[in-house]
C-alpha cells in the first residue's frame, strides 16, 4: 500500500460523507411530497402515474394493507420476469438468438431480481437477451430497490406516528422512489459512465480476430443504463459474467470510482433521511456512524490481510483473481462495499481474496446486510438491531426500554428477533443440507475450508440478499437454483414481514415524553452498544462456522498453506 492508495480510500469516503446528508435531505423532501428544485420536473411525471393508474395519493394504508400491496406487487413482478425468461426467444431484441431459460434458472433469476439479491447462476452475456436485460431485469432493479424504500418508510413513519395506523401509501412511495430518486440518479450515472466508455447500444455480439490470430466473440448491449441502477439500487446483477471487472462495465479509474460510490450512496443517504424525517437529524448520524465504523473496521482488516504478504505469495501481494487495472486497494474497497451494501456486484473474484478479506466480505453479509445494506432494507434491518440494543441496554437504566419515545415490548422484541434470526436459520440449515447432499457437493470446485466457504458463502449471499458469489461454485443446477431461490425469498420476506408487523405495532403506541431518566440513543455510547450487539448477536451465531472456513484458512495462510 502506498500513499496513492490511501488518498484513493480517503477520497471515496470523503465524497460519500459529503453527499450523504445532501441526498438524505433531498430524499426526505421528495419522499414526503415536499417541493424541491427538482420537483418542478418530476412532479408532472409523478402525477401522470397517479392519473393513469387511478391512485389517490392522499389515501393512507395501515400496515396490513401496505404489506398486501408490497406482496402483490412483488408477486406480479416475479411472475413477469419468470415468464419473460422462460420464453425469451419469443420476445424481440435478441440479436444473439439466445435460447429460453430452464425453469429452475428462470425461477432462481426471477426470485433473485425481485428480492434485490441479483444472484446470478448464469453468465449474463451468453444467457440474457437485450429484452430480458432491459425490461425484465432492469425493471426489477428499480422496483426491488423502491420496495425496500417503501418498507423503510413505513417503519420510520411508525416511529413518527403517535397512536396512529396511517403508514403511508405503497403506490405513492413506490412512485416517488422511482421518479425522484432512482431514475434521476441512474440517469446521471448512466451519462457519466457512458462518458467513460461504458457501452450503450442494442447490437449483437461481434466476432473479432485477436493479435494472436484467434477469434474472439465480444458481446455488446445497453450496458451503461443497466450499470447505473445495478450499482445505485444495491442490485449487483451484471450485464456481463465478470460483472464490474469487465472493461465494458467498468473501463476507467473514474468509472470505478463512480461505481464504488454508487454502491453505498443511496443506503448511506437514507440513513440520514431517517433522522430528517423524524426531525432528529442526530439519530440518523448515529446510525450512520455505527455503520461507518463497522465498515472501516472490516475494510482495515481486509487490507491488512491482503497487504500482509508472506512466503506463500512470494512476498508479493496476491493478485490472482483480481483485475490488474484496479489493483488490490480498489478490489478490497469494492469487496467490502459491495458486501456491506447488499449489492453483490464485483470487480474482483471474492474467492481469490485472502481468507480474512473473504471472511470480512462474508461477515458483512452475515450481519444481515445492515452495514448500510440494501436500499431501504439495510436501514430497516439495522433498526431491528437498534430495537434489540435498546431493549438490552435500555433495561440497564431501570426503565421499560424505549426508542424515539416508543416503548419496546414483548411483541416488538419478537418481531425484531424473527427479522434478525430468520436469515441465520436459512443459512445454517441450507449449508448443512448441502454438505450432506452429494449432488450439491459435486458443484464445488475446491475442497477443504475453502470449499466450505464457497457453499457457506452462497447461502449467506442468497439469504442476505447480497447476490455476490464466492465463485468456484457451479450453481446452475436444478437443486441449487431452487434451494438458493427459496433462500433468497425467505431472506427477503422473512425480514419484511416482521418489520411491517413491528411497524404496525410501534405506530399504535404513544410517544413517551423525554426526561433525564430516559435512555438516550443520540450519543456515542449508543453507537458503541449497537456495534457490540451487532458483533455479538450477529456474529456469534456464525463464529463456529467461520472458524472452520475463513479463520482456519487465514491461520494456515499465514503458516503457508492454501487451498
Amino acid at each position: 500500500m502506498n500513499g496513492f492508495d490511501v488518498i484513493q480510500i480517503l477520497f471515496v469516503f470523503f465524497v460519500l460523507i459529503l453527499l450523504s446528508p445532501i441526498l438524505g435531505a433531498f430524499f426526505n423532501k421528495s419522499l414526503n411530497g415536499k417541493a424541491t428544485l427538482f420537483s418542478s420536473i418530476a412532479r408532472p411525471f409523478e402525477k401522470l402515474v397517479y392519473r393513469a393508474s387511478g391512485i389517490d395519493e392522499n389515501e393512507e394504508m395501515n400496515w396490513k394493507q401496505y404489506l398486501k400491496a408490497v406482496l402483490s406487487f412483488n408477486g406480479v413482478g416475479f411472475l413477469f420476469v419468470f415468464f419473460v425468461l422462460l420464453f425469451q426467444k419469443s420476445f424481440p431484441l435478441n440479436p444473439a438468438g439466445l435460447p429460453n431459460l430452464s425453469w429452475h434458472l428462470a425461477f432462481n433469476t426471477a426470485v433473485s431480481f425481485m428480492t434485490n439479491t441479483n444472484w446470478q447462476s448464469y453468465a449474463g452475456e451468453s444467457t440474457m437477451s437485450h429484452f430480458s436485460q432491459m425490461v425484465a431485469l432492469a425493471g426489477q432493479n428499480f422496483f426491488s430497490a423502491a420496495t425496500g424504500i417503501g418498507v423503510l418508510l413505513v417503519l420510520i413513519r411508525a416511529f413518527k406516528n403517535n397512536q396512529s395506523q396511517k403508514l403511508g401509501n405503497f403506490w405513492v412511495d413506490l412512485n416517488r422512489s422511482v421518479v425522484y430518486i432512482l431514475l434521476p440518479l441512474s440517469l446521471v450515472w448512466a451519462i457519466l459512465l457512458s462518458s467513460q466508455g461504458v457501452l450503450q447500444n442494442l447490437s449483437g455480439p461481434v466476432t473479432v480476430k485477436t493479435l494472436e490470430g484467434k477469434e474472439q466473440i465480444i458481446s455488446q448491449g445497453p450496458v451503461a443504463s443497466q450499470m447505473a441502477i445495478k450499482q445505485l439500487g444495491t442490485n449487483g446483477g451484471g450485464f456481463f459474467n465478470t460483472n464490474s471487472a469487465h472493461p465494458y462495465e467498468n473501463p476507467t479509474p473514474l468509472s470505478n470510482f463512480l461505481e464504488l460510490l454508487a454502491l453505498l450512496l443511496i443506503p448511506a443517504a437514507l440513513t440520514l433521511t431517517f433522522g430528517y424525517m423524524l426531525n432528529k437529524p442526530k439519530e440518523g448520524w448515529i446510525l450512520f456512524s455505527a455503520m461507518m465504523i463497522i465498515l472501516v473496521l472490516g475494510l482495515s482488516a481486509s487490507l491488512w490481510s491482503e497487504y500482509h504478504a508472506n512466503s506463500l505469495t512470494a512476498n508479493l501481494i496476491p493478485m490472482e483473481g483480481k483485475e490488474v487495472r484496479f489493483g488490490v486497494t480498489n478490489s478490497i474497497l469494492w469487496s467490502t462495499f459491495t458486501t456491506a451494501a447488499s449489492n453483490g456486484s464485483v470487480n474482483a473474484m471474492h474467492s481469490s481474496l485472502t481468507p480474512i478479506a473473504g471472511g470480512i466480505a462474508l461477515l458483512n453479509i452475515l450481519f444481515g446486510e445492515i452495514i448500510f445494506g440494501g436500499v431501504g432494507s439495510g436501514l430497516y434491518g439495522m433498526l431491528l438491531y437498534v430495537v434489540l440494543t435498546v431493549f438490552i441496554a435500555g433495561l440497564m437504566v431501570g426503565r421499560t426500554p424505549e426508542y424515539l419515545g416508543k416503548k419496546i415490548e414483548a411483541f416488538d422484541i419478537k418481531m425484531a428477533i424473527i427479522g434478525i434470526l430468520t436469515p441465520s436459520f436459512v443459512i445454517l440449515f441450507a449449508t448443512t443440507y448441502s454438505l450432506v447432499t452429494p449432488s450439491i457437493m459435486s458443484s464445488l470446485m475446491h475442497k477443504g475450508p475453502h470449499g466450505f466457504s464457497e457453499i457457506f458463502y452462497a447461502f449467506s449471499s442468497a439469504a442476505g440478499n447480497n447476490g455476490s458469489a464466492f465463485a468456484g461454485l457451479n450453481a446452475n443446477t436444478p437443486i441449487l437454483n431452487s434451494l438458493l431461490g427459496v433462500a433468497m425469498a425467505i431472506g427477503r420476506f422473512g425480514v419484511i414481514l416482521p418489520v411491517m408487523a413491528l411497524a404496525g405495532n410501534i405506530s399504535k403506541k404513544k410517544i413517551m415524553p423525554e426526561s433525564v431518566g430516559t435512555f438516550k440513543t443520540d450519543n456515542f455510547l449508543f453507537v458503541f452498544l449497537l456495534i457490540a450487539v451487532i458483533l455479538i448477536v450477529g456474529a456469534l451465531t456464525f463464529f463456529p462456522a467461520l472458524s472452520l472456513g475463513p479463520i482456519i484458512e487465514q491461520i494456515m495462510f499465514i503458516q503457508g498453506k492454501t487451498f
Binding site: 445454517l428 404513544k510 456469534l540 463456529p544 479463520i551
Partner: protein, 679 residues
C-alpha cells in the same frame, strides 16, 4: 414484616426445592434451563449406553449442577416469601366472630362470614375479616400486617374506617360491616402474593424471556449444524475429529453459549424484587405495577400530610411601628397561652424559643376568650386589659371600637403575608396594635431534597391541594415541586391524570380517601395508604402499610432495580459468550489440519493457553455453572440504583456488567483450568 434474614431452614428448603423443580413440567416454564436439563439428560443417558468416561461424567455432573443452581436461585427467592407468608398465616388462625344479626349476637366461625354481615368486636377480640366500622371507635393493633406495634385509631365514618381481618382491637367496642368474603381478604391476598402463588410474568419479563428463548434456539441450530460442518472439515482435512466433537462436548458448547446465567436467575430477580418491596412494607398487588413504577415520570402528591405537616405554624412576627420586637413577642405569647389549637401552641413555642424567660409564665389568672365565628379572634383578659389576636379586619374593628387606629404598616404587612400564601394574625392589647404573626403551612424538613432526587430520576412532581392558587404557589416554591394543582377536586385530579397519560406520561399517585379512589384506579401506580378507606385500598395497585406518602420514591427505586438487574445480567450473560468461544472452539478443532502430533492451526485461538481440550471444555462448563451461584446474591439484592441520570447509570452498568462480562470469564475459566490440571 421487616427483618427476615436468610435462615438455615430457608437454605435447606431451597436445596430440596431445587430437586423437586427438576420436574419437566416446572422446568419447561424456563426454556433456557429446560434445554440445559435436556442436555444434561442426554449426556447422562449416553454415560450408561457405552460412552462412559471420566470426562463425560464430569460434564454430566456439571450440567446437572447448572440446572440445580438455577432452580436453587428461584427456590431461595421463593423461600424468603414463604417464610413471610408463614408468619402471616399464624395471625389467621381460626377465630370466632360475634355475628350481630337482627340485634341479636351469636358466635360463628370467622370463615362463615359473608359480605354485608355485621360483627361486634371488643377489647382483645381479633377482627374476623376485612370490613368497615359502622359504629364506634377503637384503637387497633395492626402489627400482624404492618409490623408496627403502636396502635392505630379506627373510627366509623371518614377516612379511617377500614379494618383488616387478623388485626386486634385493643380498646373500646366497634361494630364492623364485613366487606370481603372469606379467602379474599387482605391478609389472604398478601399471603398469596408473598408466596408467589399468584405470580405472573410481567410484560418486561415476558419480552426478555422471548429474547432469551430466541437466542437459545439460534445457538441450538448453530451447534447442531456445527456437527455437520465439523464432519465435513474432518473428512476434508483427513483428520478425524470424532474423538472430541462428541455429543457431550457439543451439549457443553450449547449450554455455555445459551444465556444460562440470566435464564437461571430471571425469575429470582422478579420474585426478590417483590420481596424487597414487602420488606419496605409495601404490598404490590401485581408485579406489573412494580415494573410500571420504574417507568413513572409524574408523581402526584397530596400537599397535606405529605409535603407539609398540615398545620399552620407561626414562623415570624412583624412588629407595628413604635413597638419593640420583644414587646410584640410577649404580647403574642400572652394572647396564645390559653389557646390549645396547633396555631396557638406554635406561637407559644416560637416566642419561648426566642425569649426563654417566657417559659416561666403560665395561664394562671388569665381569663380565656375563645375564638368564635362571630368575633373571629381569641385572646385573654388579664388585669382588665383585653389582649386579642385575630384576622386583620376583625382586630381593626376591635381596635376602632376601643378608639384606636390600625397602623397602615400593619395592614400592609398582613396583606404581604396573605399574598405569599401565609395567614396573618394581628395582635393587639386594647386600642394598641402590636404587630402581625406570620402563620404558615410548614413544609416537612428534607422533602425538598427528596423532590430534587426525584427530579434527577426524571420524575416530575405535582402537588395537589385544596388551597387557593396563591397559597399553593408559595408552598410549591418552598417544597420545590415542579407543578401544583390548586383548589383541586377529585374530578380535577382524575382529569389531570388522564391528561398526563394522554401525553404519554406514566403517573403515580398516593391517596387515602374514598374520593381519591377513582384517581388511584386511573393512575398507573396508585399507592393506597393502609390507614385509608376500603375504597381507596381497593382502587390502588399497591398498599403502603406504613402510610408514608414519600414511600413512592422507594417503590420507584425497586421497580427500576428489577429492570436494571435484568438488563445488567443479560448483558453479562451475553458478553460471557466471547470468552467461552475462545475456550471451546480451539479445543474442539485443535487437531484439525494438525501436522503429526503438533498443534492444529486453530489452537492459535487458544489465547488463554488452556491445558488440554478436555480441561478447556470442562472449565467453561464449570465456570458457566458457578457463575449462576456467584450471582444469586446480586439477583436477590438487585443492582444498586442511584439517581444520577440515565446516561451516567448506563455507563456505570455497562462498565461493570458489559466490560466485566467480557473480562471475567477469561480469568475464571483460566483459573478453573489451572485447578483441573493440578488435580
Amino acid at each position: 414484616m421487616k427483618q427476615k434474614i436468610l435462615t438455615k431452614e430457608i437454605y435447606l428448603q431451597a436445596t430440596l426445592d431445587s430437586f423437586t423443580k427438576l420436574d419437566p413440567r416446572t422446568l419447561i416454564k424456563n426454556p433456557v434451563i429446560f434445554i440445559t436439563g435436556i442436555g444434561a439428560l442426554i449426556t447422562t443417558v449416553l454415560l450408561f449406553t457405552g460412552s462412559f468416561s471420566w470426562f463425560n461424567s464430569q460434564i454430566a455432573i456439571w450440567l446437572w449442577f447448572t440446572v440445580l443452581f438455577a432452580n436453587f436461585s428461584e427456590a431461595i427467592a421463593e423461600g424468603k416469601g414463604k417464610a413471610q407468608a408463614d408468619s402471616l398465616r399464624k395471625s389467621r388462625t381460626q377465630t370466632l366472630a360475634r355475628l350481630y344479626k337482627n340485634k341479636v349476637e351469636s358466635q360463628v366461625n370467622a370463615t362463615e362470614l359473608r359480605k354485608g354481615d355485621l360483627v361486634i368486636c371488643e377489647t382483645n377480640d381479633i377482627i374476623p375479616a376485612d370490613g368497615e366500622i359502622v359504629e364506634g371507635l377503637a384503637s387497633v393493633d395492626e402489627s400482624a400486617i404492618t409490623g408496627e406495634s403502636a396502635p392505630v385509631v379506627r373510627e366509623s365514618g371518614g377516612d379511617r374506617s377500614a379494618v383488616t381481618g387478623g388485626t386486634r382491637v385493643l380498646s373500646d367496642r366497634i361494630i364492623i360491616k364485613i366487606t370481603m368474603d372469606p379467602g379474599e381478604g387482605f391478609l389472604d391476598r398478601m399471603i398469596a402474593l408473598v408466596e408467589g402463588a399468584s405470580r405472573q410474568k410481567t410484560p418486561n419479563e415476558i419480552a426478555l424471556s422471548l429474547l432469551l428463548s430466541a437466542l437459545t434456539l439460534i445457538f441450538l441450530v448453530a451447534v447442531v449444524t456445527l456437527k455437520f460442518f465439523a464432519d465435513y472439515a474432518g473428512v476434508a482435512s483427513g483428520s478425524s475429529l470424532s474423538a472430541i466433537v462428541t455429543v457431550p462436548v457439543l451439549v457443553s458448547l450449547l449450554v455455555c453459549l445459551i444465556p444460562t446465567t440470566i435464564g437461571g436467575l430471571l425469575s429470582a430477580i422478579g420474585i426478590s424484587g417483590m420481596d424487597r418491596l414487602i420488606q419496605k412494607n409495601v404490598i404490590a398487588l401485581s408485579g406489573r405495577a412494580v415494573e410500571a413504577a420504574g417507568d413513572i415520570d409524574i408523581l402526584m402528591l397530596d400537599k397535606t400530610g405529605t409535603i407539609t405537616y398540615g398545620n399552620r405554624m407561626a414562623t415570624e412576627l412583624i412588629a407595628a411601628p413604635n413597638i419593640g420586637e420583644k414587646e410584640l413577642y410577649k404580647m403574642a405569647h400572652l394572647a396564645s397561652l390559653s389557646d390549645e389549637t396547633p396555631e396557638g401552641r406554635s406561637i407559644v413555642e416560637l416566642a419561648r424559643s426566642k425569649y426563654s424567660e417566657l417559659e416561666k409564665e403560665d395561664a394562671t389568672g388569665l381569663e380565656f376568650v375563645p375564638f368564635t365565628a362571630q368575633t373571629r379572634m381569641s385572646g385573654v383578659n388579664v388585669n382588665g386589659a383585653q389582649v386579642r389576636k385575630g384576622a386583620g379586619d376583625a382586630i381593626e374593628k376591635f381596635v376602632v371600637s376601643q378608639k384606636g387606629v390600625m397602623p397602615v404598616e400593619v395592614t400592609r404587612a398582613a396583606e404581604t403575608i396573605a399574598r405569599s400564601g401565609g395567614t396573618p394574625l394581628v395582635v393587639c392589647k386594647d386600642e394598641i396594635v402590636y404587630g402581625v404573626i406570620y402563620l404558615k403551612d410548614v413544609v416537612k424538613s428534607g422533602i425538598k431534597e427528596r423532590f430534587s432526587e426525584l427530579r434527577r430520576m426524571g420524575i416530575k412532581t405535582i402537588m395537589i391541594t385544596g388551597d387557593n392558587p396563591l397559597t399553593a404557589a408559595s408552598i410549591a416554591a418552598e417544597a420545590g415541586v415542579d407543578d401544583f394543582m390548586a383548589q383541586a377536586t377529585p374530578e380535577m385530579k382524575l382529569k389531570r391524570i388522564k391528561d398526563e397519560q394522554e401525553k404519554g406520561h406514566l403517573v403515580a399517585m398516593t391517596g387515602d380517601g374514598t374520593n381519591d379512589a377513582p384517581a388511584l384506579a386511573q393512575a398507573d401506580v396508585g399507592v393506597a395508604m393502609n390507614t385509608g378507606t376500603q375504597a381507596a385500598r381497593e382502587a390502588g395497585n399497591m398498599i403502603d402499610l406504613d402510610s408514608n406518602p414519600t414511600k413512592l420514591i422507594e417503590i420507584v427505586e425497586t421497580g427500576k432495580q428489577i429492570l436494571m438487574t435484568r438488563g445488567s445480567l443479560t448483558t453479562f450473560s451475553i458478553a460471557n459468550d466471547v470468552a467461552k468461544y475462545f475456550a471451546i472452539i480451539p479445543a474442539l478443532f485443535a487437531t484439525l489440519y494438525a501436522v503429526k502430533g503438533g498443534a492444529g492451526p486453530l489452537s492459535v485461538l487458544n489465547i488463554m493457553r488452556l491445558g488440554s481440550p478436555q480441561s478447556a471444555i470442562l472449565s467453561a462448563v464449570i465456570f458457566n455453572a458457578l457463575v449462576i451461584v456467584a450471582l444469586i446474591p446480586l439477583a436477590l439484592k438487585g443492582v444498586a440504583y442511584k439517581a444520577i441520570g440515565a446516561k451516567a447509570l448506563l455507563q456505570r452498568n455497562i462498565f461493570i456488567y458489559g466490560v466485566g462480562g467480557l473480562v471475567c470469564p477469561f480469568i475464571g475459566i483460566k483459573l478453573i483450568d489451572v485447578i483441573i490440571n493440578l488435580l
